[in-house]
């Protein structure tokens, strides 16, 4: 079993929940991202999603769209992000890493080739929001062959049958979308996500993590009462976009993430 499974097992033993953090790779620079991975790891992030910027991120709200644009403008691409991660792994990072991106970036080099290279660089899983179960055949074969987990989504609009099938197909964790919408911070979560988490957990032993709209420690605590983990993206990405030196950036993000991590215990 891989790093993601091991991490959730360890958390379970400690009676903690997972803090999953997202940053856009290459925003503001690949060097900053490498430093941020170590910062997030040290601050207690249990899993890290690295966004591989795509020109047309249709599941993302304004914050991550802007970060994707900045990353692309700064020259981030599949090759240099994988190389940066390989280097971070060689330097000793053990935190589970997932790529979050859109399917076209996998298709361009070939889905199997992309997965093979991602695993080789040190990634543990993939999150591809524009590939629903029905279209996941080629991707599943490729992630399985490469030894990568493939996260599946359940949403408030998913029918009971889809929730069941997605939870059973997911490896790594099940991504429970808290609301109907795109990524981005919200002041409150709609209460419906609770039922969705409970329904999902009835079908699978795979951990269930809740994302979209979460940025506050109180929200983290609320979600961690019922789910196995919480995913925070846009709030961290916003901090990344506030400028300054790499030290200032990692300082800001580290403090924020430590605070969130405390809410998962």
């Amino acid at each position: 079993m891989g790093r993601i499974f091991e991490r959730f097992e360890a958390l379970r033993r400690n009676d903690e929940k997972a803090l999953v953090t997202y940053i856009a790779a290459g925003d503001p620079s690949l060097e900053a991202t490498a430093a941020l991975i170590r910062t997030l790891e040290a601050a207690g992030a249990d899993l890290i999603e690295l966004g591989l910027a795509f020109s047309d991120p249709l599941a993302d709200g304004p914050t991550i769209q802007a970060a994707s644009q900045r990353a692309l403008a700064a020259g981030a691409n599949t090759d240099n992000v994988l190389a940066m991660v390989a280097q971070v792994r060689r330097a000793g990072a053990t935190v589970p890493l997932l790529i979050m991106t859109y399917y076209n970036l996998l298709m361009r080099p070939g889905v199997a080739e992309f997965c093979r290279r991602a695993a080789e660089a040190g990634f543990d899983g993939l999150i591809i929001p524009d590939v629903p179960m029905e279209e996941a055949g080629e991707l599943l074969a490729a992630t399985t062959a490469a030894g990568l987990d493939l996260v599946q989504f359940v949403a408030p609009t998913s029918t009971p049958d889809r929730v069941r099938r997605a939870s059973q197909l997911a490896t790594g964790f099940v991504y429970c979308v808290s609301l109907t919408g795109v990524t981005g911070e919200r002041t409150a979560l709609p209460p419906r996500f609770r039922e969705l988490v409970q329904e999902t957990k009835r079908h699978t032993e795979t951990p269930v993590c809740v994302g979209f709209g979460i940025s506050q420690p109180e929200q983290v605590r609320e979600v961690c009462q019922i789910a196995d983990g919480v995913i925070v993206g846009s709030a961290i990405v916003r901090l990344c976009g506030e400028g300054g030196t790499v030290e200032e950036l990692t300082g800001r993000v580290g403090a924020y993430v430590s605070n969130l991590k405390a809410a998962t215990k």
């Binding site: 629903p132 029905e134 979308v177």
Partner: protein, 400 residues
């Protein structure tokens, strides 16, 4: 006869199409597909659509024998399918009308759409005014600035125009924004997509509502000429007018189908919108697998065309399928050639076609010239050129 092209149950046309959308939208796509299948042959729905087509849109549009153009070119007999004579001036309303009637039956009170030049936005705003539906149109900020007239038309019709500020701030980004809006408001909102693109069932639904073009043309050409045509020519951006006329004819392998893409500054430059003929590669974009313009890493590249309606880096999945199966052939015509096509039809027939349609006119003249005088070619004149006059006058050095 060739078998009629239809998607499989998951919306695939061969390797193309499908449904590549976030999980949140899957149920909406399935709901739409079920509603469409329930109503498409429902006698009340069919009768209502027929009523509005005839009395509101002004169908059937004429199939007109372009005698002077035929003489000028000196080859095949050229007929024009006059989609420019539809209410709002283009074929776009065929689809907007069908989808609005569908949305009403689905109980959706709010309609959203994306638009580039504004033609689909105007068509959507029009049917929403007609049926009293709330209408929000997503339009790239760049397009809002350069298509003031259509922005004003939409607002006059009671629609809200929401400028898209992300990405390149053009049609592809407006489409992303419309999809995001749909994800967020999926329970109350129907998304009227403007071309044969997007996740299944959209390419099928839009095609079916545009098939009226080809169905009428078959009747009309048989009545006027006593036989089927030898060739059909239509422009292809997303490809809805082309699919609308191609699809009914595609069962006749003897009818040559030619789709004309935007060659922009030329296929040897990076300024074109020629997805299938200009080096596009198979990928996933806006919910479907199809050919698309992209760079070495899979980032979508910006298209260019003189005509905003062809300025799109993707193409409908069924066109990709038609191309790979040899059911239709595709070529590209440059900005300059399209302008020539516009002038040619204006001066020989007194018809000012849209810049989009002018691509087809140019190519049709080239093809007709090589055909025998007893052969027949039909051009789909998908829209009228009024919207393009300011731009064209500027290119001809005239300040209006």
């Amino acid at each position: 006869m060739r078998e009629l092209s239809q998607p499989d149950s998951m919306g695939h046309y061969g390797q193309f199409g499908g449904r590549y959308v976030p999980e949140t939208l899957m149920s909406a796509c399935i709901e739409l597909e079920e509603a469409y299948n329930r109503y498409k042959n429902d006698p009340d729905f069919v009768a209502e659509l027929a009523y509005y087509r005839k009395h509101y849109i002004g169908r059937a549009t004429p199939l007109y024998f372009a005698e002077r153009l035929t003489q000028h070119v000196g080859g095949a007999r050229i007929y024009l399918k006059r989609e420019d004579l539809n209410h709002t001036g283009a074929h776009k309303i065929n689809n907007a009308m069908g989808q609005a009637l569908l949305a009403r039956r689905m109980g959706k009170q709010r309609i959203i759409a994306e638009t580039g030049a504004g033609q689909h936005g105007v068509a959507t705003a029009t049917v929403c005014a007609l049926f009293g539906l709330d209408c929000d149109v997503h339009m790239g900020e760049v397009d809002v600035a350069r298509q003031e007239l259509n922005v004003f038309r939409m607002r006059l019709l009671g629609a809200r125009v929401l400028p898209t500020k992300s990405g390149s701030r053009t049609l592809k980004d407006a489409t992303n924004e419309a999809i995001r809006d749909w994800v967020t408001n999926v329970e109350t909102t129907h998304y009227i997509i403007g071309s044969v693109v997007g996740p299944h069932p959209y390419p099928m639904i839009v095609r079916d509502f545009q098939r009226v073009i080809g169905e009428e043309a078959i009747e009309q050409v048989k009545e006027q000429a006593g036989r089927l045509p030898d060739c059909i020519v239509a422009c292809v951006g997303g490809g809805s007018n082309a699919m609308g006329i191609f699809h009914p004819f595609s069962v006749y392998p003897e009818v040559r189908l030619v789709g004309v893409e935007a060659g922009g500054h030329g296929l040897d430059t990076d300024k074109h919108g020629a997805t299938m003929t200009g080096g596009g590669r198979v990928g996933v974009f806006h919910g479907a697998r199809s050919y698309l313009l992209q760079d070495q890493f899979g980032q979508i590249t910006e298209a260019h065309s003189i005509s905003a309606g062809l300025d799109y880096p993707g193409v409908g999945p069924e066109h990709s399928h038609f191309r790979d199966q040899g059911i239709a052939e595709y070529v590209a015509v440059t900005d300059e050639q399209a302008l020539e096509g516009m002038k040619l039809l204006a001066r020989t027939e007194g018809i000012i076609a849209a810049l989009e349609s002018s691509h087809a006119i140019y190519q049709a003249a080239e093809i007709a010239r090589t055909m025998a005088k007893d052969q027949i070619l039909i051009i789909n004149v998908s829209g009228r050129g009024d919207k393009d006059m300011v731009q064209v006058s500027r290119m001809m050095g005239v300040d209006l």
